[in-house]
C-alpha cells in the first residue's frame, strides 16, 4: 500500500511539473491567447488583421517539407527563414511597445518593424527619409521645421500612415511623463502638428538645426519610432501598453514568440510594397521569415553556426571566428582573410580618465604621459593580433568616414603637433609609420590607401622618456621604489566590464601590462554591468575601459554635445552629460556655437575641426582602435551579405538599418 502511495505521489509530481511548464505558455491550438502567438486577429482598432495561424503554418510546413525537407525548430522552411542571433533574451516576451520600459528593442523590433523618421546609409554616412519624405525644411533661425511625410506607407492593418501618426507620436511622448524622452522633448518642442495629411509642422522653443540628426537614425537607431494613432490613442497609458499584437509600418510582423523570451519569429508582410522599406526602395526582402533567436554561451553559438543553425551572429572574438571558418567554409566575415573584422563600428575602445577624481587625472600632461608610456604596437597585438584601425583621436572615432572627412585633411596638423615636456623641450607624438610596421609584421601587402583603411593613418608614439617627463610635469615623482604623487605612493586602479566587449576588456588588460612595465603601480579589476554602468555615470573609477564615442556623420555635434561642461555634475551624481567630466571652456563654447549652426554649413565643419584639435591636445579619452567587429555570416542558405568587397552597407545586424541590408540578400 505504502509503495503504491509513493509511486503515485512521484508520478503526480512529475506530471504536475510537466503540466506547469506547459500550462502558462503553450496553447492547445492557434486559438489559445496565452500562447504568445502574436499573429492572430488584431481587433484593437476595429480592424482585423489576417495573419498566419496554426493551420497556415502546418500548410507551409508541409509544402516546404516537400521542397527542401529542412525545417527550423519553429516549423518554418529553412530555406525561407533567415536566422539571426539576438544578443540578449528578453524577460518580457510579448512586449513590443518600445515606449514601455524593459522592451528589448534589438530583438528584431527596431530592425524589422519600427518606423523611423530618418534612416541611415551607413556606407555613405548620410541620412535619408524613411517616414519623412526627404530632409526637413527649416526657417532661417531653425525654430520652425516643415517635414513632408512619404505617401503610400500603410500600417500592417491596412490604415495609411499619415502626418497625424507622426504628430500624435511626438505629442504622445511629450504628454506621457513616464516615457524616458518626455522631458527632453518638452524642453525642445513648442508644438508639433499635422497641417495636412502628409505635412507636419514642428516648432521648437529655441534654434534647433539638427532635427533630422536628433530625431532620426545616425548610428544604432533612434528612440523616436512612429506609432499608429488609431491604436495608441485608444490606450490609457502608452508607457504601460505592452502591444502584444503590434501594428507596424516596417516590412515584417510578429508571427510568434517564445513565452520564455528566447526567440521571436517574424513574417514578411503580404503587402510589402506598402511598408517603409517597400516605399523607400521598391524592393522586397527575399526572406519570408526572420527568426531572431538567443543562442546562449559562446560554445553553443559557435557550434550552431558551424551546423548552419544560424545565418548571422552578432559579434564574436577572432579566435572563435577563425575556429568556425576552419570548420565550415560557408562562414566568413567582413574580410575573408586577416584582419577579418570591420573597423567601422563608431565606438572606439581605449582608456577613459575620470577627471572628476581630480589630480592627476584631470591634468592633460598626466593623460599624455600615460599615452606615451604604452607601446601601441604591442597593445594592438594583445587585443586582436593586430587587427583594427588605430583611432588616436580621443572622443572622435576613426571610422572610414572620419578618416576621410577629418583625419586625412588634418594630418599635417597632427604631424606637427608638439607637447611641452616641462623641461624646456618639446616632443611630436604623432607616428605615421604604424600601418607600415603592422603590415610588415603581419605579412599584409597593399598600397597606402589599403593599409590606411586597415590600420589607420597613424598612432601615438611609444616614448618612455617623454612619458616620464610629462608625468613629472603633472606632479608625479619618480623614486627608486616607484612613482609617488603628493608624497604618497601612486597607484592606478584600472577597471573594465566583465564578460562582454572583448576589445575593451583586452585593451585595459594590455594597458595594465604596458603601464606596469613602464614602472607604474597598477591594479586591475573587472566589474559586472550594473556596477560598471553606475560607476561610469558617477565617475567612480580612475582609468577604465569605457567607450564614450559614437560617430559616423560629417556633423559631429550629436557625438560631442554631451561634453558640454555645463552638464557636468559633482562626482557621485549621475547627470545627462559625460561621465569622464572633461571640463574645458573652449570645447564647451564650440559645442554651444555648433548647436546653432546648420550641420551642413562650412562653419560647422570648421568648428568641428577646432574641437578636434582642442580635444586632441587635452586627450580626455585615450582611444586605441575604432570599434573592431568580427561579425560572422553563414552563406549556406543566404548570400550577398555586405563585406569589404561588396560594402553596400556595414554588417550592422543589430542596427535599425538591417531591414534595408536584408533587401540585398539572395537565396543560395
Amino acid at each position: 500500500m505504502r509503495k503504491k502511495l509513493v509511486s503515485i505521489l512521484m508520478a503526480s509530481a512529475m506530471t504536475i511539473s510537466l503540466m506547469a511548464c506547459g500550462g502558462g505558455s503553450a496553447p492547445a491550438t492557434g486559438t489559445d491567447e496565452s500562447a504568445g502567438t502574436a499573429a492572430e486577429s488584431t481587433e484593437t482598432a476595429g480592424d482585423t488583421t489576417e495573419a498566419a495561424d496554426t493551420t497556415e503554418t502546418t500548410e507551409a510546413t508541409a509544402s516546404s517539407d516537400t521542397a527542401s525537407g529542412e525545417m527550423t525548430e519553429v516549423g518554418t522552411p529553412r530555406n525561407e527563414t533567415l536566422i539571426v542571433e539576438t544578443q540578449t533574451p528578453t524577460d518580457v516576451p510579448g512586449q513590443f511597445n518600445t515606449y514601455m520600459q524593459g522592451t528589448t528593442t534589438g530583438f528584431g523590433i527596431h530592425q524589422l518593424m519600427s518606423a523611423m523618421m530618418w534612416e541611415m546609409d551607413t556606407a555613405k554616412g548620410e541620412q535619408f527619409g524613411e517616414v519623412a519624405d526627404g530632409m526637413p525644411e527649416s526657417n532661417a533661425d531653425f525654430t520652425e521645421h516643415t517635414v513632408k511625410i512619404r505617401q503610400g506607407i500603410k500600417w500592417s492593418d491596412g490604415e495609411d500612415l499619415t502626418a497625424k501618426d507622426v504628430a500624435f507620436t511626438f505629442n504622445m511622448i511629450m504628454n506621457t511623463p513616464n516615457i524616458g524622452a518626455s522631458d527632453y522633448y518638452n524642453s525642445i518642442f513648442e508644438s508639433v502638428e499635422a497641417t495636412d495629411d502628409y505635412t507636419v509642422l514642428i516648432k521648437t522653443k529655441e534654434s534647433f538645426p539638427r532635427l533630422a540628426m536628433k530625431m532620426g537614425v545616425t548610428i544604432w537607431g533612434n528612440d523616436l519610432r512612429i506609432v499608429p494613432e488609431h491604436i495608441y490613442s485608444q490606450v490609457d497609458d502608452p508607457s504601460t501598453f505592452k502591444d502584444e499584437n503590434p501594428v507596424v509600418a516596417g516590412p515584417y510582423t510578429v508571427k510568434s514568440y517564445d513565452p520564455l523570451g528566447k526567440w521571436v519569429l517574424y513574417e514578411r508582410r503580404e503587402d510589402w510594397e506598402n511598408t517603409t522599406v517597400g516605399v523607400v526602395t521598391g524592393k522586397q526582402c527575399p526572406e519570408k521569415y526572420v527568426w531572431f533567436r538567443y543562442l546562449g554561451d559562446d560554445t553553443t553559438r559557435q557550434m550552431a553556426m558551424i551546423q548552419n543553425e544560424v545565418d548571422i551572429l552578432c559579434e564574436v572574438t577572432p579566435e572563435i571566428l577563425t575556429a568556425m571558418m576552419s570548420s565550415n567554409d560557408k562562414i566568413s566575415a567582413w574580410y575573408n582573410e586577416f584582419p577579418y573584422a570591420t573597423s567601422d563600428d563608431p565606438c572606439s575602445k581605449g582608456l577613459a580618465f575620470s577627471e572628476g577624481q581630480g589630480a592627476p587625472y584631470d591634468n592633460p600632461d598626466f593623460r599624455w604621459g600615460i599615452a606615451l608610456a604604452m607601446n601601441f604596437d604591442e597593445i594592438s597585438m594583445n587585443i586582436f593580433d593586430g587587427a583594427g584601425r588605430s583611432s588616436p583621436f580621443g572622443i572622435l572615432c576613426n571610422t572610414s568616414a572620419f578618416q576621410e572627412l577629418y583625419a586625412k585633411p588634418m594630418l599635417s596638423w597632427f604631424e606637427d603637433f608638439e607637447l611641452d615636456l616641462g623641461d624646456g623641450t618639446t616632443f611630436k607624438p604623432w607616428d605615421s609609420e604604424y600601418k607600415n610596421r603592422m603590415a610588415e609584421k603581419l605579412g599584409i601587402t597593399g598600397d597606402d590607401a589599403y593599409l590606411e583603411d586597415m590600420f589607420g593613418v597613424g598612432c601615438l608614439k611609444y616614448n618612455p622618456e617623454a612619458a616620464e617627463k610629462l608625468l613629472i610635469k603633472a606632479g608625479l615623482e619618480k623614486k627608486d621604489d616607484g612613482w609617488y604623487f603628493g608624497g604618497e605612493p601612486f597607484t592606478i586602479n584600472l577597471t573594465y566590464l566583465a564578460d562582454t566587449e572583448a576589445q575593451a576588456g583586452r585593451g585595459v588588460q594590455a594597458a595594465y601590462d604596458q603601464l606596469t612595465k613602464f614602472g607604474l603601480n597598477c591594479n586591475i579589476s573587472s566589474e559586472s554591468s550594473a556596477t560598471w554602468d553606475a560607476n561610469g555615470g558617477t565617475g567612480n573609477y580612475e582609468i577604465a575601459g569605457y567607450w564614450p564615442t559614437g560617430f559616423i556623420t560629417k556633423d559631429i555635434y550629436s557625438q560631442i554635445n554631451g561634453y558640454d561642461a555645463d552638464l557636468i555634475v559633482p562626482l557621485g551624481e549621475i547627470g545627462s552629460g559625460q561621465g569622464v567630466r572633461w571640463n574645458n571652456k573652449e570645447a564647451t563654447d564650440i559645442i554651444h556655437k555648433l548647436a546653432k549652426v546648420s550641420p551642413d554649413s562650412d562653419e560647422a565643419y570648421e568648428l568641428a575641426q577646432e574641437f578636434i584639435k582642442i580635444q586632441f591636445t587635452e586627450m580626455p579619452f585615450l582611444a586605441f582602435h575604432s570599434g573592431v567587429k568580427f561579425v560572422p555570416t553563414n552563406s549556406t542558405y543566404w548570400g550577398n551579405y555586405p563585406n569589404a568587397d561588396n560594402a553596400y552597407n556595414g554588417p550592422w545586424w543589430w542596427w535599425s538599418c538591417f531591414k534595408y541590408i536584408m533587401t540585398e540578400f539572395t537565396t543560395n
Binding site: A20, A28, G36, E73, V74, D91, Q101, Y294, T299
Partner: protein
C-alpha cells in the same frame, strides 16, 4: 517635468519599491507582501514587470528539470548503491562502485559540455540550445520541451547518480554488518528479503533526509546546465539579476529557495515517523 509631478512620481516609485516608512515598517511590508504573497515588487532589469511574475514563468521549467533528474538520480543511485554495498565482494558491485567513483567527482557542467558536444554537435540527435515551440499545439510543445530537456536532465542525472551510489553503498555496507542482518542470515532468510527488508530500510533513512535537502535546492536552479543548454530556468535568472543588480529579483529567487528548503525540511520531519517506526513509537 513639473516639480509637483516629479514629487508624485518619486512617491509612487518609493511605494512600488517598498521604501516608504521606517525600517521596521518596510520589513513588515516585505514579510507580508514578499513572504506571504510572493510579491517582490517590479523587476529592476525588466521594469515594470513584477519580479514574481517573471520568476513564476521560469520556475516550472527549473522545477520540472531538476525535480525529475533529482528523483531519478536518487532512485537509480540508491538501488545501485544498495547492490554495491550489500554484495560488496561481488565483481559486479566493484565495477558499479568504480563507475560511481569516476562519475561523482566530475563537475556536472563538464558532463553537460561532453553530452552537448557528442549528442547535439557531433551526432545531431538533440538541439544545441533549448528551443521550445509553443505555438503549434500542445503536442509540438511537449515534444520540443522533452527533446530540449533530455541532455540537461542527463547531465544532472549522471553526476547525481554517482553521489547517491557512493553514499548508499557506504550505508548499505555498514548496515550489512549489523547483528540483526547476521541474525536474519542465521534464520535462513533469502538474500533478497535481507537486502530489501533489513538493509535498504535501515539505510534509506539518511538518504531521505538528503533527498529532501536536494529537492529544496532544485528551486535555485542549476546555473551552469541552464547556461550551457540555454535552458530557461531560475538559475540563469538569478545570475542575470546579480549581474544587473536587480535586487527585487534576487530577493524573490532567494526567498523562494529558502521557503522551498524549509518546506522540504518540514515535510521530512513529518514524513519520518512513517518511514522509521522507532520515531513513531518513541
Amino acid at each position: 517635468m513639473d516639480p509637483v509631478q516629479m514629487d508624485a512620481l518619486r512617491r509612487s516609485l518609493r511605494v512600488q519599491f517598498g521604501l516608504e516608512g521606517s525600517l521596521m515598517e518596510q520589513y513588515t511590508t516585505f514579510l507580508w507582501k514578499g513572504l506571504l504573497h510572493f510579491d517582490f515588487g517590479p523587476s529592476l532589469m525588466s521594469y515594470p514587470e513584477p519580479a514574481g511574475k517573471i520568476i513564476s514563468t521560469y520556475l516550472p521549467y527549473t522545477v520540472g528539470l531538476s525535480m525529475i533528474s533529482t528523483l531519478l538520480a536518487w532512485i537509480i543511485g540508491n538501488l545501485i548503491g544498495l547492490l554495491a554495498g550489500f554484495r560488496k565482494n561481488k565483481r559486479s558491485s566493484k565495477i558499479l562502485e568504480g563507475i560511481a567513483i569516476c562519475l561523482y567527482p566530475i563537475p556536472y557542467f563538464i558532463v553537460a559540455l561532453v553530452l552537448q558536444i557528442f549528442f547535439a554537435y557531433i551526432l545531431g540527435w538533440f538541439p544545441l540550445t533549448t528551443t521550445i515551440n509553443s505555438f503549434q499545439g500542445f503536442g509540438v510543445f511537449m515534444a520540443s520541451l522533452i527533446k530540449s530537456s533530455i541532455l540537461p536532465a542527463l547531465s544532472l542525472l549522471l553526476v547525481g547518480t554517482g553521489w547517491w551510489i557512493i553514499s548508499m553503498k557506504s550505508l548499505a555496507a555498514t548496515t550489512s554488518e549489523e547483528d540483526y542482518v547476521l541474525y536474519a542470515r542465521y534464520r535462513g532468510l533469502s538474500e533478497g528479503v535481507i537486502g530489501t527488508k533489513y538493509v535498504l530500510k535501515n539505510s534509506i533513512l539518511t538518504q531521505v533526509t538528503a533527498l529532501a535537502m536536494s529537492l529544496g535546492g532544485v528551486f535555485g536552479g542549476s546555473i551552469m546546465t541552464e547556461i550551457i543548454f540555454g535552458y530557461p530556468g531560475v538559475g540563469t535568472l538569478i545570475q542575470k539579476a546579480i549581474l544587473q543588480s536587480d535586487y527585487n529579483m534576487i530577493l524573490g529567487c532567494i526567498t523562494i529557495s529558502i521557503v522551498a528548503i524549509s518546506t522540504a525540511t518540514l515535510i521530512v520531519d513529518l514524513v519520518y515517523p512513517f518511514i522509521d517506526p522507532r520515531i513513531r513509537y518513541s
